[in-house]
């Protein structure tokens, strides 16, 4: 299957998801009207700066946001079944069973006092009636599959006896142990060094092909998106800024915020270029403007930006920006002249 194949049927279907927290300073809308689909065997990238609500969106739909002041609305269907508002036990059997998760920092993601084998076995036995012996054998197989050398003895080692990259492999093995239909990876490479990052992405790509899981990968790195994703959701201040196939978004991005993100990726082939930064800071979720959330930092700001732009576009490439196609064409061509892709 080539990367550009469209999704056949949605494994995960999110409609108008909003997550807000009641705080002393007022209601914080961490996620505001997010909608997307993840098809079978599709890799969806969610990209945005820190605080753009990308992790909260995924955690909240799985019941991992355990804040008494949170309120979640919208609809999240997993294989056609509504999962918002499932009971704790139903959620538990789904988490780790049908949905696997990988986290940002492998150094702290494993319980320090148990062997990695024990921790994989724990998950296997929570979701099946495997015997301990069979589960250990399966754990050893999984470690071998994620490329941990000498898995027979490593299965009895403790997390602190592994390097960061190896620990992330263990976490991946654990997430895949129950053959989940969906894998959610929250910045899986951010805490790793560059060579290890490439290995982990490569591994995830390979495992995705063999296990056939769909993947949602959360990242702030457009490079990771270009590497692995089929489709991309660009988020800003809890709102989707742009959604589309990876090639379209990376090659012909439509939203000024995406232009900024793309400009912030260092490239080895262009030597004398300064990294482009987006001026200003990400908006505080307490003071999201009523209009376009990106407007205060946007250099193409217009009067109409005081109103919230709808998510619209042609085919499956949507964006929330008031710029007209002609304006974008002009801006993009002048940027190309300046040597910025």
């Amino acid at each position: 299957m080539s990367r550009e194949d469209p999704p056949t049927n949605a494994v995960l279907s999110v409609r108008d998801l909003s997550v807000s927290f009641a705080t002393r300073q007022g209601v914080v809308r961490a996620v505001d009207g997010l909608s997307f689909d993840v098809g079978a065997k599709e890799v969806l990238g969610i990209v945005g700066e820190s605080g753009s609500g990308k992790s909260v969106a995924m955690y909240s739909m799985l019941g991992l946001v355990r804040d008494a002041n949170v309120s979640i609305s919208g609809s999240v269907r997993f294989e056609g079944r509504e999962i918002l508002g499932l009971s704790d036990t139903e959620m538990q059997s789904m988490r780790g069973g049908e949905v696997g998760m990988i986290f940002q920092d492998p150094m702290t993601a494993l319980t320090p006092v148990y062997t990695v084998g024990w921790q994989i076995v724990e998950q296997l036995r929570a979701h099946s009636d495997m015997t301990k012996k069979a589960a250990y054998e399966r754990a050893t197989e999984l470690l071998a599959e994620v490329g941990i050398p000498d898995p027979k003895s490593r299965v009895n080692h403790y997390p602190h006896e592994f390097s960061g990259g190896m620990r992330q492999r263990v976490v991946i093995a654990m997430a895949l142990s129950c053959n989940p239909k969906l894998l959610i990876a929250d910045e899986p490479t951010t805490a790793l060094d560059v060579t290890t990052q490439a290995q982990i992405l490569d591994l995830m790509g390979r495992l995705q092909a063999t296990h056939g899981s769909s993947i949602v990968i959360i990242t702030h790195d457009m490079g990771v998106i270009a590497e692995i994703a089929h489709r991309v959701v660009v988020m800003y201040a809890g709102r989707p800024a742009e959604i589309g196939p990876e090639l379209d978004v990376v090659r012909s991005a439509r939203h000024p915020y995406t232009w900024g993100l793309l400009g912030a990726v260092p490239r080895a082939d262009i030597k004398t270029r300064r990294l482009v930064t987006i001026p200003g800071n990400a908006v505080s979720p307490l003071e999201v403007p009523t209009g376009c959330a990106f407007a205060p930092r946007c250099q193409y700001r217009m009067e109409i930006c005081a109103q919230r732009p709808p998510l619209r576009g042609a085919d499956d490439h949507l964006d929330a920006c008031w710029l007209s196609d002609e304006q974008r064409l002009v801006i993009r061509s002048s940027a190309t002249v300046r040597g910025e892709s």
Partner: protein, 323 residues
């Protein structure tokens, strides 16, 4: 693991030796003090002083004096008190030790049970009214001095109510475990509760803090993502990791308590344990007795810390590598 245990215990022996040398030097080589008159006690006759000087080799070099002292203390075990003339020190200590050990054993069981369940209940109900309630009882138990609490317990159980509600409580004293286990427990019940209350309070508060910290760790999120039940996450992951700090606290507490720090409880309840014995020695300036008690106390502190280190390595695999 075995190598770790052997290593840890051989270093404990070394520490014991060092302590014995230090204690010896403080007692017998302090400049400007005649050790003979110290050992012999107040207003001893010249004949006694000469006898003491000869027995402990006080006119011979320091290392020989040290050797003689240890010989009397551990090998011949005939170190005698000159205050209560003829009292052998070692038998006194070995008679007192079971009482102290009994007192501490029961208190340990109670405080671990109450402290750990208190901490778990408070952490589990964080934000509800039961959490500050448990913590209030914790801080109250910590703040009440043990001698006052002991006196109050005595007042209630042995006072006017002793003929009615508390008629089942013995009149105080001690019955050994081998003699009658039921009477042993009955005699020690209120001393146990009194001694345990302070530690139960401390442990509950420490454990609550540890649990709440650990519940915010990344690995708890991983455990949730694995689809484990909240119960399993709390007990098998968060509590298991929190026990590491409880064990280190426990080692120190048990060490000093067995070494004689249960003194106040022993004195209040008239239990003639090691703490009580040390108290007697100090009051009478009975140097050989103090020397014996200090060595005994040091021995248990060192032993307890070695046992705890091994336990520590058992529950926290990260320690084993360092060793």
């Amino acid at each position: 693991m075995l190598r770790f245990i052997v290593k840890r215990f051989s270093s404990a022996v070394l520490v014991m030796f060092t302590i014995s040398v230090l204690v010896f030097l403080i007692f017998f080589a302090t400049p400007g003090v005649n050790p003979a008159s110290r050992i012999a006690g107040r207003s001893a006759s010249p004949a006694v002083l000469r006898h003491v000087a000869k027995e402990f080799g006080l006119n011979r070099p320091l290392p020989i004096r040290y050797g003689l002292m240890m010989f009397h203390l551990f090998i011949k075990q005939d170190l005698t008190s000159y205050v209560n003339i003829g009292d052998k020190i070692i038998p006194q200590i070995t008679a007192a030790a079971p009482i102290t050990l009994s007192l501490i054993f029961g208190a340990v069981v109670i405080w671990l049970f109450v402290g750990i369940s208190g901490g778990v209940i408070a952490a589990k109900n964080k934000g509800k009214f039961i959490d500050p309630l448990v913590m209030f009882f914790g801080i109250a138990a910590i703040s009440i001095p043990v001698y006052w609490l002991g006196q109050m317990v005595l007042l209630v159980t042995q006072g006017g109510l002793h003929s009615s509600i508390f008629a089942w409580i013995p009149n105080g004293g001690y019955v050994s475990l081998t003699q009658n286990p039921w009477q042993w427990a009955l005699h020690l019940l209120f001393p146990w509760l009194t001694l345990a209350s302070l530690y139960a309070g401390i442990y509950a508060r420490v454990l609550r803090g540890e649990l709440i910290n650990n519940m915010n760790e990344d690995y708890i999120r991983t455990a949730r993502a694995k689809g484990l039940s909240e119960r399993r996450i709390l007990y098998r992951h968060a509590l298991r990791c929190s026990l590491i700090s409880i064990v280190s606290l426990f080692g120190l507490d048990v060490g000093v308590l067995v070494g004689g720090a249960a003194l106040l409880t022993e004195v209040v309840f008239g239990l003639q344990g090691v703490g009580w014995l040390t108290y007697q020695g100090l009051q009478n300036l009975d140097l050989p007795l103090i020397m014996g008690c200090v060595m005994y106390g040091a021995f248990f502190v060192v032993l307890a810390s070695a046992v705890v280190d091994v336990l520590y390595a058992y529950i926290d695999p990260r320690i084993r590598v360092v060793a």
